[in-house]
Symmetry: C2
Subunit: 207 residues, 2 copies
Amino acid sequence: MRAMSTPPTKVSFKEQMHLAREEAILQATCRLLGEKAYDAMTMDDVANAVGIAKASLYKHFSSKEELCSAAMVQILARVRTYLDGLAAEMPPLEKLQALVRWSLERLITNEMPLLPSRNSSLRAVLMANKDYLNGLVTVSDQIGEWIVQAQAQGLINPTLPPMVVLYTLYARACDPVVTFLKDGGQYSDAEIVELVVRTCFDGLSAR
Amino acid sequence: MRAMSTPPTKVSFKEQMHLAREEAILQATCRLLGEKAYDAMTMDDVANAVGIAKASLYKHFSSKEELCSAAMVQILARVRTYLDGLAAEMPPLEKLQALVRWSLERLITNEMPLLPSRNSSLRAVLMANKDYLNGLVTVSDQIGEWIVQAQAQGLINPTLPPMVVLYTLYARACDPVVTFLKDGGQYSDAEIVELVVRTCFDGLSAR
DNA sequence: GTCTATAGTGAGATAGAC
DNA sequence: GTCTATCTCACTATAGAC
């Protein structure tokens, strides 16, 4: 709460500190959720990563669920920013491929996945969060448009329901193949990304 | 331990009961792990599902980790049985497709997935289990043969490393697309399986 | 071997001083 | 707002009667 005797700049500075700390908490949460499961990540982990006491976390976020939801909402916002930044003249198929490539690049550096894996406890938390669902709908609508356009151009298989295409793209963002190949140590990150993009769009069968 | 005064049939019956109970425990574990994350599944869940006291579980399996590992090893054995049962004259590509279809059918009925999803705590447990790793190697070798054969026949893209093909097939066994589509309620289980098999082998792009 | 009851532990969340 | 210390509760695992 702003004190009347405090100069505006001072308050603004404090507010910036507050926001910066909150940003750091969200960053750490994203990274940790990229490394381990929701249940396995503890509030102590987050507090230690940020370098503050656990109790302080609760001054910013009222629960673990709220913290992780906020982190995912932020990720969704970043996706939106990325999508909006794609050149308008880029063909829809290339936009879709760019999105998958971008998601995989986040995934392979252990940043928080765009979507939780199957059976993740986080999934139930997110599905109960209105902000997350709204953001997801917005992003899905945008991607859905491009899918329909790419199908109209005959570049995406028009016999596949757009929803199936959409989910198949989303699923790349938590694709375990990336982890397998990375653990194998045989390929560079860039190679892994390209291989997964290829199998996603071209399939396994020979063309 | 067998008592000397007990007739063999009686003992055999008791042993069968013991094995049947153990089988029931493994079954319940598989089903529960298909429904929720490893961390979220409690030993109480298993005990309640089987209808025995939690303490009795520990007479059969010394820990949660051992129980779940045993369940996964059993799944792997079932995969081996399925693979061995495929007709020898079936073309390798069809064998691979049959395997994916079979995995998806297990997945869609919420049976335990062949592989844990990304970031699952179960993953660390399994990677420390020798029986599981041995079983996985055996199955992988068999599938790997078929992949190489299918590539030699020009039916699987020969420019894809066999390991990438293998992991891509494995990943179908925990594919979140199945969950998404099933929750959507728009498609039957059989339709979902076929759609995912198609996108796996043929990709999203038009042919 | 099965049960009830409980010990032990770890993590989410809070109290209260500063 | 941040901290230390603590509460509370759920879950793994075990003790001990039958």
